[in-house]
């Protein structure tokens, strides 16, 4: 299926798709950001998709923010192995 490609505010949908990551991280120059914003205001496809994209990024960050604690057995085996190591040799030079 062909992607819809509207020209809104001087930008095509495909260009907005490419610019989305920088736009969300506020990494676009002011003029570029304004152009993307104007496109999003005038293009319901891109506004919806941009919201879903941002929502997906936020979901990843939020739900996986803290790494789960390793299983107790993994932690125990790691400590056993490390405890058996000889002292580190000082670095030469």
């Amino acid at each position: 299926m062909r992607m819809p490609d509207r020209l809104v505010a001087g930008l095509r949908c495909a260009e907005v798709l490419e610019a989305l990551p920088d736009y969300l991280e506020h990494a676009l120059p002011p003029q570029g950001a304004q152009q993307v914003e104007a496109h999003l205001r005038g293009c319901d496809w891109c506004e919806r998709f941009g919201g879903e994209y941002a929502g997906g990024v936020a979901a990843l960050r939020r739900m996986l923010a803290e790494p789960p604690a390793p299983p107790a057995a993994v932690r125990t085996r790691l400590r056993e192995r490390l405890a058996a190591l000889p002292p580190p040799t000082p670095r030469n030079g």
Binding site: L17, V36, E37, L40, G55, L60, P68
Partner: protein
Amino acid sequence: MPGEEDGALTVPAATAAAEDAALLAGTAAGDRTAFERFVARHEAAVLRYVRGLVDDADRAEDVLQERFIAAWRGAAGFRGGAAARGWLLSIARHAAQRHRRRRAGEPATHLPLEELARQAGFSQPAAPDLARAFEARELVERGFRALSPEEREVLILRELEGFSGEETAALLGLSLAAMKSRLHRARLRFLGVLRGEIDAHA
């Protein structure tokens, strides 16, 4: 507006970096208590990162152990100033790659961007349940696990560990532009997988 999304990341604080540097200095002098605290601070993040790269749990555990053995032996070589987490992960990465087998049937990650976007919902009908899926931890994790190691890796570094774009690119050995492209594609794949999950259970 999508632009209102809160882009705040949990950036490792300068104090945490200073504490890590102190713990590694102690480790280099043979202080096992300092090393124990260093391990406790980072083992969960290292294991998550390695599990992102290596599917087999036993192999991942091997890499975790090797990584901290190398940290014990190499603590004197740590250059203060660099984030200890990045130092750990960059060496874990090399270890994981040695263990990693190229799997047959890698997901089609080299589709044109527009096709990836279409699978992610661009130009597609709205997925009303998507917002709810974002709130369901189990679904988010399942979607994440369905990605390729390469896709998971860039998401872990950038979204979960909160490394900057430049730091993430350096850890991956990519240019900033190539890292951004990989990140964009990984996010689109994640969205596509979630939409697939929703459709499958509709």
